[in-house]
């Protein structure tokens, strides 16, 4: 039956209305978790606040389990949904550029939009920078980026199939890794913040 819009069970208007309400949930939760505070975000790289890692992995694993079960029991056709194609070279290079953006700017696009909406001036500037960056990329696409962006094409690759294990086992292992990470970062955070009060 699912996904409902791509299989024409719901119409365009309802689909866009749902987009708005799903966005409200996403934005509300990002703000409520503290993702509009750039210092809390940067904390993941310096050991004084691991909220990014905790929220991020909890969300990804919850979604991975849910989508796997929906697909496994035949409630959702995974072929009908947005499935990112893998181009490993530009994703690696682009990801590394984004790492610089994250460390220097203290946001990613989603968190900067939330923070800008709540009045954080540094976030408004970040969003402005991101839009200028996209303009720059767009106007230099042919000369600088096009070949790189098309390189390393692998098509739609499922990581579990790529490794050669079942999807269920992969999700289980990912959950175990996340649980260990949650435990370890909690200890690290306690040690770092006991030496110094970061007054977040």
């Amino acid at each position: 039956m699912g996904p409902l819009f791509p299989t024409n069970i719901i119409g365009e208007e309802l689909n866009l209305l749902l987009a708005f309400f799903i966005g409200i949930g996403f934005g509300f939760l990002l703000e409520a978790a503290g993702f509009t505070n750039t210092r809390k975000l940067a904390g993941v790289f310096y050991g004084y606040d691991f909220v990014v890692l905790k929220v991020f992995f909890s969300a990804a694993i919850t979604a991975a389990i849910g989508i796997y079960l929906l697909s496994y029991y035949g409630y959702m056709d995974i072929k009908e949904i947005f499935y990112p194609q893998t181009y490993w070279i530009p994703t690696l290079v682009g990801g590394f550029i984004m790492a610089f953006g994250f460390i220097i700017g203290g946001f990613c696009p989603g968190t900067s939009i939330c923070a800008a909406a709540t009045g954080k001036l540094d976030a408004i500037v970040f969003v402005g920078g991101a839009i200028i960056g996209i303009f720059f990329y767009a106007f230099t696409y042919e000369s600088l980026w096009m070949n790189l962006r098309q390189s390393g094409a692998m098509g739609e690759v499922n990581i579990a199939e790529w490794i050669g294990i079942s999807q269920g086992l992969f999700i289980f292992l990912l959950t175990v890794v996340a649980a260990i990470a949650f435990y370890v970062v909690t200890i690290i955070q306690q040690r770092v913040t006991s030496k110094r009060d970061f007054k977040l």
């Binding site: 460390i103 402005g128 690759v157």
Partner: protein, 172 residues
């Protein structure tokens, strides 16, 4: 502790974001994104101001020139409008609405704003090259077990840890 410092339990927030991610895929077949909406804005603005350029230029033409144009992601625009409304709602409830520059005490406002603008610029470029950002590529990609999402995860966060030392003065 004042009300503005009260944050939701991170595991609960993550679990609930995961449920919204499932809903996005189940109802609309879409992941949660952010940079895609910014790209759509850039494409639309360029198309309005310089349609003749846009329909020929390699980056824009697949979005704006019919008949072989890719439909622009209207869904993401509505989703991001929701994100804005949701963030304002939460900030209003918890008393965090208001104009301010968030930064560590030892950094000047000017330094923080220059760093934020530079970081945004790099993130804008990186998200286009990498086919999406932390939400639309990494988190959504991981949710459907796409290899791409995990490569992005390693590049963004692994890369972040590699270079964090050199930018520590901005934060600690």
């Amino acid at each position: 502790m004042d009300r503005s410092k009260k944050y939701m339990n991170p595991y609960l927030a993550g679990f609930l974001i995961g449920l919204f991610m499932i809903a996005a895929y189940f109802f609309s077949g879409e992941g949660l994104g952010a940079s895609g909406a910014l790209k759509t804005t850039v494409v639309a603005a360029t198309d309005v101001v310089a349609h003749d350029y846009a329909k020929e230029a390699e980056f824009f033409k697949r979005y704006v020139s019919s008949p072989d144009s890719v439909p622009i992601k209207t869904w993401l625009i509505f989703e991001v409008l929701g994100v804005i409304a949701g963030a304002i709602l939460s900030a209003a409830i918890f008393g965090r609405l208001g104009s301010e520059i968030v930064k560590p005490p030892h950094i000047t406002n000017k330094t923080r704003l220059i760093a934020a603008a530079s970081g945004g610029l790099l993130f804008g470029i990186g998200s286009q090259l990498g086919r999406g950002c932390t939400s639309g590529m990494v988190m959504s990609g991981m949710s459907v077990l796409s290899l791409s999402g995990f490569i992005g995860l390693i590049a963004i966060f692994g890369g972040g840890y590699l270079i964090a030392y050199f930018f520590r003065k901005l934060w600690i």
